[in-house]
């Protein structure tokens, strides 16, 4: 249904689509306005005045920095683990057909298909049964598990486009398995892996539901935000953090889009 030569979109459809998109975007734009408000105690609209002072205040808040650092560390390590596991899985699944292939792709998708709270409480109860104390690594364990699918989705789409005969061609021309990996496979799936990694990073950076169950006393940035949402203490600081989070997550999404736009789409359903 890509072409429609004779017809133009009905006005009603245009209005409904535009309204739908506005509904998706306006609330995010409002965050940007609130980051500059002079009001401290309430969420009053319109803002009584504008200031950039809250950026400086936020900058000097050690708790925000600690949460941000933890989030970045967790996201970075989870992304690396997800990249390794997701790529291995995608390579194995797309290269050959074997018994149990469907089961394995289901296994990869399951952590994202079931509600996050189930993943979270399952991990928590497993940690408590195995008497594993909460730590940085318990957070990473959870995050890496649901990040695998994002890398996997991106890599599998690209592996499908990288024809099997290209690998044979490389071997035929005298390249052994390692040379083929370095000179043919890696350059061809590289951008898909970078895109998958970025999405995995964004996913981990933003994750809160599983994290509340696996974090113990440590605060990632989303957990910090959640605290502020439940018990607002520093509204202006929260406003600024919210805006920064929006910008920080937009960048990898845009980058991932540009890396994969010809051909496969970023796996939006993978979140």
């Amino acid at each position: 249904m890509s072409s429609d030569r004779s017809q133009r979109a009905p006005v009603g459809l245009k209005v409904a689509a535009a309204a739908g998109l506005l509904f998706l975007h306006l609330p995010i734009l409002i965050i940007f306005v609130y980051a500059f408000t002079t009001e401290e105690k309430s969420y009053v609209w319109p803002p009584p005045g504008f200031t950039t002072q809250w950026f400086a205040v936020t900058w000097n808040r050690p708790d925000v920095w600690e949460a941000l650092t933890l989030s970045v560390q967790v996201a970075a390590i989870s992304t690396v683990i997800a990249l390794v596991l997701g790529t291995l899985c995608a390579a194995a699944i797309s290269g050959t057909s074997f018994f149990g292939r469907e089961t394995i792709s289901l296994l990869v998708i399951l952590p994202i298909a079931l509600p996050g709270i189930i993943t979270g409480i399952a991990l928590r109860s497993a940690f408590s049964l195995a008497e594993i104390p909460f730590s940085f690594w318990t957070i990473v364990l959870g995050h890496a598990t649901f990040c695998v699918v994002v890398v996997y989705n991106n890599a599998v789409a690209r592996f499908r486009r990288t024809s099997g005969s290209m690998i044979e061609a490389s071997m035929d021309l005298g390249a052994d398995a390692f040379q083929t990996f370095r000179h043919v496979i890696l350059p061809n799936i590289g951008t898909a892996l970078v895109a998958g990694g970025m999405l995995a990073f964004a996913l981990s950076f933003d994750e809160v539901i599983v994290t509340t169950f696996t974090a113990g006393q440590q605060q990632t940035l989303p957990i910090w935000m959640l605290e502020e949402l439940v018990r607002p203490r520093q509204r202006p600081v929260t406003n600024v953090v919210a805006m920064v989070v929006v910008i920080v997550t937009f960048l990898p999404i845009l980058a991932a889009y540009y890396l994969t736009r010809d051909g496969d789409q970023i796996a939006g359903a993978g979140k």
Partner: protein
């Protein structure tokens, strides 16, 4: 002389499927060898066995007298032109061509000189900086050819090399491939399902069916003296004559074949020969193809378009020279 490629009782089974079944084969050095057959006949699997992408389930494969079983593709001095060309999209044309030299550790200058030379050989000089995506199908194929030839392989394998090209280009490439092979003297083994291509290009043809070789021979032998009904049917448009028919008109109870151009059509209702009825005519240019119904047996004849043509529905009598009837090996 040692054959370039030799198969001894080579089989390749995929589960219950016998893709290649106890094939014996010898390809001579410097030969242009065609493997012809319908899809699924085992010809491509044979090619892949030579390249090393497949391993035989049983049997022995030798390349210039050296055992090739268990040798990975990257250690065989054999190169392949793939059906979909399999050019590397991330490399430009020059780097594609120089790939084989690069992985062997040839210095950059030397390999770019060799790549340029190979590109000139396939009539694409100066195309080195382009990306494969910017080339036409015919140009991609030339790059694939250059990429294989630059390694000076002892055997060049071509998998349906002309399948994706349009007719005009295909004919041109047939001639070029042929002259390239003569010029370089490398053993060419190519796979095709197009009998015209096999007959016009190859020194020898192997006709495959059901994982077995039905017949090996020169194009003339294959065309004039098909060994089995399958070969007669698949190669060209021979009429296949059943044993009963042969008994009556050729005096032998065997399967036979008769080329359409060897049938004469007499515009008479009775007389010496095979009574038949004209079913349809199709104009082919110089000749006209006449479909005939000879008492239930469907026959085809080709007659000169310039002469008098029968009309559909006419009762005619067919005659042919007995010497033109080829008696096949296949038992009745």
């Amino acid at each position: 002389m040692t054959p370039a490629v030799s198969f001894t009782k080579v089989s390749r089974h995929f589960g219950a499927v016998r893709a290649v079944d106890a094939v014996d084969l010898e390809i001579a050095e410097g030969e242009f060898f065609a493997m012809l057959g319908p899809s699924g006949s085992g010809k491509t699997t044979c090619l892949r066995l030579i390249a090393g992408f497949e391993q035989p389930t049983s049997g022995r494969i030798e390349i210039f007298g050296e055992n090739a079983v268990g040798v990975p593709p990257y250690r065989r001095n054999v190169n392949t032109v793939f059906q979909d060309y399999a050019l590397f999209p991330h490399l430009n044309v020059a780097d594609n061509v120089a790939y084989g030299l690069m992985v062997k550790g040839v210095a950059r200058e030397e390999r770019s000189r060799a790549a340029e030379e190979a590109l000139a050989l396939v009539k694409l000089p100066g195309y080195g900086a382009r990306k494969p995506g910017q080339l036409s199908g015919g140009q991609r194929q030339r790059v694939a050819l250059a990429r294989a030839l630059v390694n000076k392989p002892r055997v060049l394998l071509l998998d349906e090399p002309l399948g994706a090209l349009d007719l005009k280009l295909r004919e041109q490439m047939q001639e070029e491939l042929k002259s390239l092979q003569k010029q370089l003297g490398i053993t060419f083994v190519f796979v095709t399902h197009d009998q015209g291509e096999a007959l016009s290009m190859a020194d020898r043809v192997a006709v495959f069916n059901d994982g077995k070789i039905m017949q090996i021979g020169s194009p003339q032998e294959i065309y004039r003296r098909p060994a089995t009904r399958f070969v007669a049917d698949f190669v060209g448009s021979s009429n296949i004559l059943p044993p009963d028919f042969m008994q009556r008109y050729a005096g032998q109870r065997r399967w036979g074949s008769l080329r359409p151009e060897h049938i004469r059509i007499l515009a008479q209702t009775s007389g010496d020969g095979v009574p038949a009825r004209v079913a349809a005519l199709s104009y082919l240019g110089a000749g006209t193809r006449v479909s005939l119904d000879a008492e239930g047996l469907r026959l085809h004849a080709v007659v000169d378009s310039g002469g008098a043509l029968p009309a559909p529905g006419d009762a005619v009598v067919l005659t042919f020279n007995r010497d033109h009837v080829h008696v096949m090996d296949e038992p009745a």
